[in-house]
């Protein structure tokens, strides 16, 4: 029966691949486990390799990392328990850092270097995590259609609920951590009732929902949105690719509470078997390694002694809203709830 052969061929091919491929290289299937000095679980993906390589060259401490989603990595650390290899947990969003500390997976550090390098509101009060890179979430606009004077300089985010922005507004979806942390910070700042009113105002203005920041910026450039709220580094990145983009950045609420910021940060995992070197890495990232860590992604250094890279330096200095990780974290669920109540998608 000639028609039998192809199944056999397919099976043989599959089996051969399964048997030979692991032999082709020891890295396949992760066989051999981890040999590096430090193992890092990271929910941040931006330009990690470069900074880690610099650290390794400088100190001789080798690093391995896996990236993933914050919530899953945290569950994994908890499930692995004492068997786990993780030394450092790194994530984006202050709320996630606060949550990791709440879940009791991080270890408090005694470090004068970190106390000096990281401003007090960008680190945990019990020194379990430290902010390492900062991003601003602010208003962006198409200069052909909007003048900076059109914005409310005191309370820019709330000002977007004004009917004059009807049909001109673009924002990120409610599932986005960016939207959630912005709304959580507004709840902390203005209270729940006022925030609900603001979000309802955005919805009443027929806000167009985009599922990522780059599409949002492109829509502003194309003129289908006049104004939006995005992270500053996406604007920097798109302007670097195309300097003629019709997108400008307006620092929100400069005459008020300041522009909303959020951080990426890290802490040493409780079950780490190499806590000293793990602490050394975090200290290095907050000082000598700041530029290597933040510049690749056009982020702001948290260390006031370190200058931002030229591309974002052009955006000018701005006043930032004080950051409360506890508020971002503990009010995030409330923010999700509020967004749903306001009918924000």
């Amino acid at each position: 029966m000639p028609s039998r052969r192809p199944t056999r061929a397919a099976l043989a091919g599959v089996a051969a691949l399964a048997v030979t491929a692991p032999l082709a290289g020891c890295g396949v299937l992760g066989i051999g486990g981890s040999n590096a000095d430090l193992q890092i679980y990271s929910a941040r993906h931006y330009a990690l390799e470069g900074a880690f390589k610099d650290f390794q060259d400088e100190t001789g401490i080798s690093i391995e990392f896996i990236s993933g989603n914050d919530a899953e990595l945290l569950q994994r650390i908890k499930a692995e328990g004492a068997d786990g290899e993780a030394d450092v947990f790194m994530t984006v969003d202050a709320g996630n850092l606060w949550n990791a500390a709440q879940q009791d997976v991080l270890k408090p550090l005694q470090s004068p270097a970190l106390d000096k390098a990281v401003p007090a509101d960008l680190r945990d009060s019990e020194n379990r995590w430290f902010g390492l890179a900062m991003r601003a979430r602010t208003t962006t606009y198409n200069p052909d259609k909007v003048k900076p004077a059109d914005f409310d300089p005191k309370d820019t985010y709330a000002g977007l609920a004004d009917p004059k922005w009807k049909g001109r507004l673009c924002m990120r979806d409610a599932t986005s951590a960016y939207t959630q942390s912005l709304v959580a910070s507004l709840i902390g700042l203005e209270g729940r009732e006022k925030t609900l009113e603001i979000v309802k105002g955005w919805v009443a203005n027929g806000v167009q929902i985009k599922s990522n920041d780059v599409e949002l910026i492109k829509a502003i450039d194309a003129g289908t949105c006049d104004v939006g709220i995005t992270n500053h580094y996406y604007v920097a990145r798109e302007l670097k690719k195309n300097p003629n983009l019709k997108v400008k950045l307006y620092w929100a609420s400069q005459q008020g509470a300041g522009t909303h910021v959020n951080i990426s940060g890290a802490g040493v995992v409780k079950t780490s078997d190499n806590a000293a070197q793990a602490q050394q890495l975090i200290e290095w990232l907050a000082t000598k390694g700041q530029s290597a860590f933040v510049d690749g992604n056009h982020e702001y250094p948290v260390n006031p002694d370190v200058k931002p890279e030229p591309m974002i330096a052009k955006f000018g200095e701005f006043k930032r809203m004080p950051l409360s990780a506890e508020a971002y974290g503990s009010q995030n669920a409330e923010a999700v709830e509020l967004l749903a109540e306001a009918g924000y998608k």
Binding site: G30, G68, A177, V214, N332, V336
Partner: protein
């Protein structure tokens, strides 16, 4: 005719009773408890991670509320399922019928090229559609420049884009199974219907379609499950299904228990889908009688019809596969031109190997188990075995990340028990320290499509074939090896392909359970796409498509060689 009629009827009834009793003995399978036990054991192992999550969820019932807007999520899910079911049925069944019953330019090529969209992950096509048909994309800009409005282009980047993208990437499941049904068991009947004077349309509607119903239902069940657990594609289009709700609750509220409770709701949907499939299949069984027969000549289309048919089929292929791949190639080329370092290190080579090996291992493991389960159900024929077999398919309906957590929790518990029993170190880091965890979770998740395909193939083997083999004294293993395996090989090939392709595209499980130093192509795509580096993500995305084409190629070869061609016989 000396025997009174009533007496004859009574005798018949008695004979019937004996037959029925005899059959019942075979069906309850009292003779083969080992096989029942084996099926139950496999089902139990596969269910453990799902149960682990349920226990975790139920442990904290009461202290968390259902998220707001749940009703709307349920309605959205139902609407999306209905739209995707309609889309995949129209595309899948329609195209399968077109290439089976009619001859038009490119038919022979198309009959297998139309399987290719299977290799395109929905999350990749979703992003391509979004960036192409968004307000900033070329078509919308062109529309605004020429006719002043672009709404008729942009709707594709809105919520309606989700069912379109899911239908275009998922229809091959329905296409494959219904085409096999049309060509295989339906062929003889089709010939008969045509010879008796039925028009092709009537023969299709009244003869072929009812015959292919189990196959279509099987394909649709797979499509529904994929749609239910998808969270990446729907989020691009801001469609909020229950699965998205699971993620929102988990990530937005740091509340895994509530998320797990919500995933129970996803499971409930899956139960509905599977029940629906059983109902659609009905009590009907259509066994193949005899071997392959040469197919009837398809109607050769002439004139305009011939070009309409060709245009319809080619345009599906163009939209679902050719244009997206072209766009990816364009991105990959421009990204490489801008930054040649992305190619120089060959950094994707190892990821390619990892993806390939994992896909192969997953395919072998799932299909092996599916075969044992299906065979076990057949040789015992018992209710218990069939119920257990149904249980093995539920993993497919649980979002990947939730299964991943289930595997972690289950192994953590095992680790604890082993240590309590005095085994030093317990299981250690067997889950996340090796690829074993990923493989185990692949089995939990992908046993369903493997089982569906193998089971559909078994359904065409008449029970009398199995019984003849037994009555000739064969052992169950020998029946599996010498009778069932050869007779169901087309189903096995389909199962291998479905699992391999699914495994190549799978993301959340690998992301969560991978050991250090283990990266697959889908993880590379995720890392880059997550930060909106779509141009750089194009190359690994293309490699996923290329890798997924390999099993599809094997499938097509198998199907082509197994189908006798008219040309060879004339």
């Amino acid at each position: 005719m000396t025997v009174p009629a009533t007496e004859a009827r009574g005798a018949c009834r008695a004979a019937d009773g004996r037959l029925a009793r005899a059959r019942r003995v075979r069906l309850t399978g009292t003779g083969r408890p080992a096989w029942s036990a084996l099926v139950v054991l496999i089902a139990a192992i596969v269910c453990i991670p799902v149960v682990a999550v349920l226990v975790e969820a139920l442990a904290s019932v009461g202290d968390s509320a259902w998220p707001r807007g749940l009703g709307e999520m349920v309605v959205t899910t139902v609407a999306l399922l209905a739209a995707v079911a309609l889309g995949t049925t129209v595309l899948g069944v329609g195209l399968a019928w077109l290439v089976t019953a009619y001859d038009f330019p490119g038919r022979r090529w198309l009959s297998w090229l139309l399987v290719l969209p299977l290799a395109m992950p929905a999350y990749v096509l979703g992003f391509l559609v979004l960036s192409t048909f968004g307000p900033a994309g070329g078509p919308a800009r062109a529309a605004r420049a020429t006719v002043g409005t672009s709404g008729f282009v942009e709707w594709l980047s809105g919520p309606l884009g989700a069912p379109v993208v899911l239908s275009l990437t998922l229809y091959p499941y329905v296409y494959l199974l219904s085409r096999a049904a049309f060509r295989g068991q339906g062929q003889v009947t089709w010939d008969a219907a045509r010879m008796l004077g039925a028009s092709p349309w009537r023969a299709f509607r009244q003869v072929l379609l009812p015959l292919a119903r189990p196959a279509i239902a099987g394909g649709l069940a797979v499509v529904m499950m994929e749609t239910l657990t998808d969270f990446a594609t729907v989020q691009y289009f801001t469609v909020r299904t229950v699965s998205v709700g699971v993620y929102l609750t988990w990530k937005g509220s740091f509340d895994f228990a509530s998320a797990a409770q919500l995933s129970v709701l996803v499971l409930a949907f899956a139960v509905l889908v599977l029940t629906g499939e059983r109902i659609l299949r009905g009590g009907a069984r259509y066994d193949a009688r005899g071997g392959h027969r040469p197919p009837a000549a398809p109607t050769v289309l002439t004139g305009a019809a011939r070009w309409w048919a060709a245009a319809a089929a080619w345009s599906v292929l163009l939209l679902a596969f050719v244009l997206p791949v072209a766009r990816l190639v364009w991105w990959a080329v421009t990204a490489t031109a801008a930054d040649s370092s992305s190619l120089s290190t060959g950094r994707f080579a190892m990821n390619l190997a990892n993806s390939g090996v994992m896909a192969a291992l997953a395919a072998l493991a799932c299909v092996g188990l599916a075969l044992v389960v299906t065979h076990g159900v057949r040789v015992t024929g018992g209710r218990l075995a069939r119920a257990a077999a149904q249980l093995t398919t539920f993993g497919y309906a649980v979002p990947g990340a939730v299964i991943g957590i289930g595997v972690l929790v289950a192994f953590a518990a095992l680790d604890g028990w082993l240590e309590a029993l005095g085994v030093a170190g317990g299981t250690g880091l067997v889950v996340t320290g090796s690829v074993l965890g990923i493989l185990a979770s692949y089995v939990v998740r992908f046993l369903a499509p493997a089982y569906q395909a193998v089971d559909a193939s078994f359904a065409t083997i008449s029970p009398s074939v199995t019984n003849s083999a037994f009555s000739l004294g064969s052992s169950p293993w020998r029946v599996l090896r010498r009778v069932h395996l050869p007779l169901s090989r087309s189903g096995i090939a389909v199962a291998l392909v479905l699992v391999a392709v699914d495994a190549v595209k799978e993301l959340p499980l690998v992301l969560l359970l991978r050991p250090f130093g283990f990266t697959t192509l889908s993880v590379s795509v995720y890392e880059l796409a997550n930060e909106n580096f779509w141009e750089q993500a194009a190359l690994p995305a293309l490699l996923i498509v290329a890798l997924a084409i390999v099993p599809v190629y094997f499938l097509v070869r198998q199907v082509r060689l197994a189908e006798p061609h008219r040309q060879e016989l004339s």
